[in-house]
């Protein structure tokens, strides 16, 4: 296949998520064009690019919301392209949405419990949630500071509170890889540092590999180990934050010089 894949053959065992030549077009417009990228276990990887660069489309291809026209999605070394979204998610891929999505009419606690990783067969579905799940939910809610609101209808909370809840819900599912679409979007500055802290600790303490789209440059440069840059659907750069900041093609893309 294409070059980057071959370059990293020696480290393949560490790669948890990989896209190989992923292409997606909508009625003649190519939203994602032959994109290769790889996320290794334990990394925090950023995905940036100007508006309309195809970042969200790429995310949707990875999660199975969209099926790529061409190319493969590889999760833990197995191809998952074309599988239903929920199956891909079950294989350890978590996701947070750009517009925060929680179950608005359920209580905070139930939002957590319904997000728990399913254990056991049909029978477990028809039982009350296990003690472990409750403990885990309690711990996570205390961690993000929502424990006091556990019996409140989630949709009643503020946007920031919902964002934290969604983050806690994502962790509740114990993902290996967590895809975050603009986690910092719409959050007030005072909460931003808290968020960075949460993401870091999820990454280190809970061993969640994180792959995030972000527009807030300060945020992404601070939190990410490595960054991919998309423009017009194509991958134009990759590397550590410092390198990306110096990259001419990236600057051109952002400043519209082409």
């Amino acid at each position: 296949m294409s070059q980057p894949t071959q370059q990293r053959t020696e480290s393949d065992s560490d790669v948890v998520l990989e896209t190989q030549g992923v292409t997606k077009t909508f009625g003649g417009l190519t939203a994602v064009d032959d994109v290769d990228l790889a996320v290794e276990a334990g990394e925090i990887v950023g995905l940036i690019g100007p508006n309309g660069a195809g970042k969200s489309t790429l995310f949707n291809c990875i999660t199975g919301t969209l099926t790529p026209d061409d190319g493969e999605i590889v999760l833990h070394g197995t191809t998952v392209t074309g599988k239903p979204e929920y199956e891909i998610a079950r294989e350890g891929l978590g996701r947070m949405f750009q517009h925060t999505r929680v179950y608005g009419e359920m209580t905070v606690m139930r939002n957590m419990l319904v997000s728990a990783k399913r254990d056991g067969g049909i029978g477990s579905v028809l039982r009350r949630p296990s003690e472990e799940a409750r403990e885990q939910a309690t711990e996570l809610l205390q961690y993000v500071g929502l424990w006091g609101l556990r019996d409140v209808r989630a949709g009643r909370m503020s946007f920031g509170q919902q964002k934290l809840l969604e983050f806690a819900m994502a962790l509740m599912a114990e993902p290996d890889v967590l895809l975050m679409d603009e986690p910092a979007g719409g959050i007030n500055p005072s909460m931003l540092n808290k968020l960075i802290e949460y993401i870091r600790s999820a990454n280190t303490d809970r061993e969640v590999t994180i792959f995030l789209i972000e527009h807030n440059m300060d945020f992404v440069m601070e939190v990410a180990d490595r960054i991919y840059v998309l423009a017009h659907g194509e991958k134009i750069a990759e590397g550590p934050p410092a390198e990306i900041q110096e990259n001419d093609r990236v600057l051109d893309a952002y400043l519209g010089r082409e």
Binding site: Y86, T100, V114, V125, L126, G148, V152, G155, F159, L164
Partner: protein, 355 residues
């Protein structure tokens, strides 16, 4: 669905309690009444109808309120059940309990088939598709030989009203117990999550098809069993009785006016509205539908979240502010996020998927 409608469906900790009490009171009163003088007659007939409508409202609510799939053709299953027992008892000559069981199975099967086709549709599309199912079932039944065509089936050799009193009471208690229990399980949580944001749930690794199909089938089962008993109770069924278009709307009105997404709401809504209908028919003979129409309009406008829902929303507000509300997790002064809520947060979860 959005804004006002959703207040009706929250704070489940509150409902758990309610469902339990309702179940206990209903079971006690229902079982005791026949031993303290309830005989066959008008009171028993009205009680049977109250039970019947409570079963229907709760059935609708399981799929329409709890799962958020707005079925607008639930009476299709009632008709399938009604005609199944009518044919089995009258033409095949099987005993009522057997016919009853077959009716339940057949209705669930029908729901499975219909669900496979329609449960992929959302919001208004689903509502119309299910309405289409009801209407074509009615028309097809009208043209079939086996169902008695337009003339329907006369069923005079049937069990006594007392048998149906116990049947409907048992069905209602069973249904309340089932829904009440399911609400506390992962299954129940998933149904509510489907209602709130099915896409999110799928992204979190849940195959929603199984859950919503199962909910639809349970809902159809109780509707079908109610229909299966009703045709014999009424001693007559034709396509207008079996696929009653007025009831199709009434059961939804009952669930919504009581408070949908709860156990107590639909049951109390059914009791209240049907009792009102009975009284209106006596007091406003000839004008009863005018009054009923006005009552429905005024009630919906005055209590959009239903009666139980109204209580519920107050409880939720108290809970939120008791624990500091917005300030609970945000630094003081940082209320930018708060103002964003209604514009973004609510719409993303509530408005995104409908129509």
């Amino acid at each position: 669905m959005s804004e006002r409608g959703h207040y009706a469906r929250q704070m489940f900790a509150f409902t758990d309690d309610h469902g339990w009490k309702l179940l206990a009171v209903l079971a006690f009163v229902g079982v005791v009444l026949p031993f303290v003088g309830l005989e066959e007659g008008i009171d028993m007939t009205i009680l049977v109808e109250l039970f019947l409508f409570a079963i229907l409202a709760l059935s609708w609510d399981l799929i329409g309120g709890q799962t958020g799939y707005p079925s607008f053709g639930q009476m299709a299953f009632f008709g399938v059940g009604a005609f199944t027992t009518a044919i089995l008892v009258k033409d095949v000559g099987v005993a009522f309990p057997v016919a009853f069981a077959v009716a339940g199975l057949l209705t669930m099967l029908t729901a499975g088939v219909v669900g496979a086709a329609t449960l992929r549709l959302r919001g208004g599309y689903f509502a119309i598709a299910t309405l289409g199912v009801l209407l074509s079932a009615q028309q097809i039944t009208r043209n079939l030989e086996i169902t008695g065509g337009a003339s329907g089936k006369i069923l005079l050799d049937v069990p006594s009203d007392t048998v149906f009193y116990w049947t409907f009471l048992g069905l209602l208690i069973a249904e309340i117990a089932v829904v009440y229990y399911l609400q506390s399980t992962r299954f129940g949580y998933v149904l509510n999550a489907i209602r709130d944001d099915e896409g999110k749930l799928t992204a979190m690794g849940v195959n929603t098809t199984y859950y919503k199909t199962a909910a639809w089938m349970i809902s159809a089962l109780f509707t079908g069993l109610a229909g299966g008993s009703y045709s014999l109770f009424n001693t007559f069924v034709d396509p207008n009785v079996g696929y009653n278009l007025a009831w199709n709307v009434e059961m939804i009105a009952m669930a919504l006016l009581g408070g949908s997404g709860t156990v107590a709401g639909p049951v109390l809504g059914a009791f209240g509205l049907h009792f009102a209908v009975v009284k209106i028919e006596t007091w406003f003979t000839g004008w009863q539908l005018v009054v009923l129409g006005a009552v429905v309009i005024v009630t919906v406008i005055a209590f959009p979240q239903g009666i139980v829902g109204e209580l519920r929303e107050r409880a939720s507000s108290m809970e939120y502010y008791k624990h500091g509300g917005q300030a609970a997790s945000e630094s003081p002064g940082g209320d930018d996020g708060g103002t964003d809520t209604d514009a973004n947060g609510e719409h993303a979860t509530d408005g995104g998927e409908s129509l």
